[in-house]
């Protein structure tokens, strides 16, 4: 990784800064994003490999609804489950579903967006159609899809993808339309560049920045959608802990004072979303600087 100090020859005066310096500069310029990425990495590594103090699926009738303490760092829930272990364990399913949904939306939305980025009447109508689609209460739509399909997990991924494909398409279309006007595209076309060459050599490299920003935002949004769904009892179901269902379990306890049951999973959602939003901001800053 980049942490090891670079060999001395790399620190020659001039243009090449060592990787370590680059990382330090990046962190200094985008402290929020750096903190966020660190948080996500630690969370993911811990949920995959880390030791958990208690069984995240276990219950303990003798220790229900205990406040945070040395034995149960985040307290226990109504069935005596350890909130800390469950919050960490839930990162697995929550983050992987959010990533899967985003990946599907990216893979389908980007080519469709490229295809729709012409000035023709047809593609304009398509965009109008997307507007109308986005006029729907999207959460209700996602809920309907998942619950009507009998609560299948893959439908959660499909729902997230469906909500986000139109966003990718709109974004790609507006960006590519602007670039298509520029001289270098005209020049490439005049020199007889094929469509694939035009797309892969000239258009895509110029929109990678906005695609990355959108992807980071989409992951953040997917985490919210996902936890909203499981908060309502749809999607990820019972023995598997997910942040949304944990918040649901603790929701009633909020007005009777046992705040920790819902607050810690809620904070996990909040911090993940914040992390990806900050990352999106940072990527946006950097890519905008590099070619505009």
């Amino acid at each position: 990784m980049a942490e090891s100090p670079a060999p001395a020859r790399r620190r020659e005066p001039g243009l090449t800064a060592s990787r370590w310096t680059t990382v330090r500069r990046l962190v200094a310029e985008h402290p929020g994003a750096a903190l966020g990425v660190t948080f996500i990495v630690v969370l993911v590594l811990w949920s995959l490999f880390g030791p958990l103090p208690y069984d995240p699926r276990g219950t303990d009738g003798s220790a229900s609804r205990e406040g945070p303490s040395g034995t149960h760092w985040f307290g226990t829930d109504g069935t005596g489950g350890d909130v800390f272990s469950r919050v960490i364990e839930a990162a697995k399913i929550d983050l992987s579903l959010a990533l899967a949904g985003t990946a599907v939306a990216l893979v389908i939305g980007v080519p469709l967006g490229l295809a729709a980025s012409t000035k023709g009447k047809g593609s304009q109508r398509l965009v109008r159609g997307l507007d109308a689609f986005q006029a729907f209460p999207l959460l209700i739509l996602a809920l309907a899809l998942v619950s009507l399909s009998g609560n299948q997990l893959y439908m959660v991924v499909v729902a997230i993808a469906l909500l986000n494909i139109p966003r990718y398409m709109r974004l790609l279309r507006s960006e590519v339309l602007a670039i298509r006007e520029s001289r270098f595209v005209e020049a490439a076309t005049a020199m007889g560049a094929s469509t694939p060459r035009l797309i892969f050599r000239h258009l895509l490299p110029n929109v990678w920045g906005v695609i990355l920003v959108q992807t980071s935002l989409t992951i953040a949004n997917s985490i919210v959608v996902l936890s909203s769904l499981s908060f309502l009892g749809v999607g990820v179901s019972a023995p598997t802990p997910s942040w949304g269902s944990m918040i649901r379990d603790g929701a009633g306890n909020m007005s009777s004072g046992e705040w920790w049951i819902a607050t810690f999973p809620g904070l996990a959602v909040l911090l993940c979303v914040l992390a990806f939003n900050q990352l999106a901001d940072a990527i946006g800053d950097r890519t905008a600087r590099s070619y505009r």
Binding site: G32, R128, G129, D131, A132, F133, A135, F136, P137, L138, L139, I140, L141, L143, A144, L145, S147, L148, S149, G150, A220, V224, S227, S228, F231, L232, G233, V234, I247, G250, A251, M254, S255, S256, G257, W259, A262, T263, G266, V269, L270, V273, L274, N277, Q278, D281
Partner: protein, 354 residues
Amino acid sequence: MALSTITTRGPSRPRRASGPLKLVASRLLFLFVALFGVVTLSFLLVSVTPGDPAELIAGPVASQDQIDAIRADLGLDQSLWQQYLDYIGGLLRGDLGTSYYTNLSITSEIGNRLPATLILIALSVVFAAVVGVGVGAAGAYFRGRWPDKVGRFGTSLFQSVPDFFLALILIYVVFFVLGLAPAPTGQIGIGDVRPEKVTGFITIDALIAGEMGTFWSAVSHLFLPVLTLGLVYAAYFAKTARSTVGKALNSQQAQFARAMGLPERTVLRYAFVEARGTIVTYAGVIFAALLGGEAIVERIFAWDGIGTWALQGILRLDVPVVQGMVLVAGAITLVTYTLLDIIVGLLDPRITHG
């Protein structure tokens, strides 16, 4: 088309009315087509997705004959095309069917619940707009200084917090710890009597009936849900206001106004006028997004609106309820967007009509 817009300024030219009229006509045409799309989608949503409502209603122990009888009763045994025609026919008569579970008419259910949701959304949008534009404009004016930094921190925080989580935190802090708000029991307290229905808006009905106790109870019950939604959506307003007002403050127009020695108050006012269109657009978009988007918050506060109703309908596969919700939310959204397009178009002579 840009030409006709410019000529609208000349009062004597005959084309004067054609710009705005054409704008309104074209938007209304689009509205009509899009509404048709919403109807079709709300129909398809339920007919095409897997899962058999008849089996669900009949329950696990029902015989095949019973299930078939229910299917016939619901019209599910007919062809998709016939079902679609029946659906549109019913819609034209104002009949959206009845709930599978409660047998209540969907139209009257929506009529009863819409006011509760509308007042919640309207107040939230107003709250969000006032707070958000205030924070955003302050950030733009003091760019890089502490009001901007605090504002941006708050903006990114509230933009990332899921609304249902914020609702729970506010219930814990404001209701349980501070005791400043009533328990989340819906529009009025458990002990309060619902005033006689006149408009459907409880606050207004209580005033008409002269029951001040109920009125204040209804107002205090609005406090937390409005605060929740208002804070979350204020973040969006703040972000937009910061960039649009900022752009307006850096424009040549503002520089010129300053160079002429106009007071800062006036310069700010000019900047607001320039940012007006964007902010109005945002208010409309957020109003539409809240419809259905606030369902979870409604549920948390036991709010008796269409959001709670739709969630319940979806979770027990009550098909007509889901269709009704999608239809109402889609239609209101489209109408809002159309009105927005027209209002913003008329506010700003620079936008091309056509």
